[in-house]
């Protein structure tokens, strides 16, 4: 897909591309972070406004479009590197780490496996920091060796 980038000095950037169906789409990302979508249906010079998103709304849309891919990509990654695996580990209701910080698990120091994302309902917290508080029902995306991942699972179960 060919994406044209048009600089809008002092305002932001406009990305333009044509979809497979032949629609010309423009996405204006302003410096403040809000996003406007336009389509060039009637007049190639005039971007018909489709909708405008606040920063928060744009992030949500990006997450919705991007979230299924994160786990997909981890799965691909483990196929590419022999010995490395990715797994979703649940934080069960009875886990001693419910309500505690991710750093408290000391998972990487103890097992060598990394927690690269927290999947919480529809949200994905990619590369979570040690201060991220775990909730029951969270799924942790863990990458490491088979033993490492098993170790993290044991830690989570307490």
């Amino acid at each position: 897909m060919d994406v044209t980038e048009v600089l809008l000095p002092g305002v932001g950037v406009r990305y333009e591309f044509t979809t497979a169906e032949g629609n010309r789409i423009g996405i204006i990302v302003s410096r403040r972070g809000d996003v406007e979508l336009v389509s060039y249906a009637a007049d190639p010079d005039v971007g018909q406004p489709v909708f405008r998103l606040t920063t928060e709304e744009a992030d949500t849309v990006a997450e919705i479009l991007g979230a299924p891919r994160i786990t997909e990509r981890f799965a691909d990654l483990s196929k590419e590197i022999p010995g490395l695996r990715a797994e979703d580990l649940p934080v069960a209701v009875g886990s001693p780490f419910v309500g505690r910080r991710l750093g408290d698990t000391r998972a990487r120091t103890r097992t060598g496996a990394s927690i690269v994302a927290i999947v919480r309902g529809d949200d994905v917290i990619a590369s979570p920091g040690p201060d991220e508080v775990l909730h029951s029902g969270d799924n942790l995306v863990v990458i490491g060796t088979q033993e490492g991942i098993a170790g993290v699972n044991a830690i989570l179960k307490g």
Binding site: V6, L7, L8, P9, G10, V11, G12, R14, G26, I28, S30, R31, R32, E36, V38, Y40, A42, D43, P44, D45, V46, G47, Q48, P49
Partner: protein, 390 residues
Amino acid sequence: MPVLYALLLELGIVLAVLSVLCALARRFGYSPVPLYLLAGLALGQGGVAPVPAAGLFVEIGASIGVVLLLLTLGLEFSVAEFSTSIRTHVPSAAVDFVLNAAPGAIVGWMLGLGWVGSMALAGVTWISSSGIIARLLGDLRRLGNRETPSVLSILVLEDVAMAAYLPLLGVLAAGGSWWHALLSVGVACGAVALAFAASHRHGARLIRFLDTADTEQFLLRLLGLTLIVAGAAELVEASAAVGAFLVGLILTGQVADRARQVIAPLRDLFAAAFFLTIGLTIDPRTLPPLLPIAFGLAVVTALTKVGTGWYAARRDGVGPRGRLRAGAVLIARGEFSIIIAGAVITSTDGIIGPLTTTYVIILAVVGPIVARLVDLIPHRAEPEHRAEGV
């Protein structure tokens, strides 16, 4: 302390009046600048309700206002945006300069304003208001349009040209000789080049110094740095405004984003003080005889801006309707015309202040109206689109 209570009361009332005016202007989607100028006229000497006690604060606020306006102007650009604009739109900027500065210079010369006055008036008619226009493009949902990058490029190049123009004018207004003026322009241009190079190579260091998690610290450091640089620039006669502009240019990326956010409310407050002061220094009784001149100049330079926009948009391969939109949106003049007039207001014989004020009030109001009206012109002007639509 009777003076203090008078100051507080008057200042409070002034700010309250400005807040009402600003709300009114925003409600209808217009810039509050012309209303601030009118408020200044009403509150100054010969106005309806003079406020002598608040004058001192407003005056100091005004000089800080110019510095903050220029700081945010510098913050608006990144080197990438500037170089893209320069690559594609130098001819448009030249057309812009020739078409729009000439009427001001000629009228200044006919009015007998002398070299400095004519040059100042040329600047007044040349510079479009980037503040009004950028906002207008967003309000009219034209950021997706094809002519928009050319319009914004012209604004960028005009604003950067100000970095050379302001010190030149400043020195000439202070009675300096031509070689002196050229030297200070040289210094200013050198400083701009240096600022670009520095932001490219050592920007990271400055940004690390400024970038603290604490907003209060960030604001204090940013303001401290800007005022020191502005003051130092004024000391070596390169104009405080240019110094502040340079600080803005050097800051890029996230720090610039953050600086824009924390500075914006302060800038709006002090800029209001600046526009108010310009209004205050002008006796409204001097305005009526200048109305026909200001009006004539407004009509002529509105048309020349339309020509400029037409030319620039055509370079980007935009159709006739888009070219007209580009031209119409460029008509608005505002803050920088007033800054130029403010720079020479004490050194010229007094016509330039009231003339510029009237001119800006007219075009800051008419510009956005015309920009909106262009959309209402029926499509008939362009047969090819009609054919496509069927």
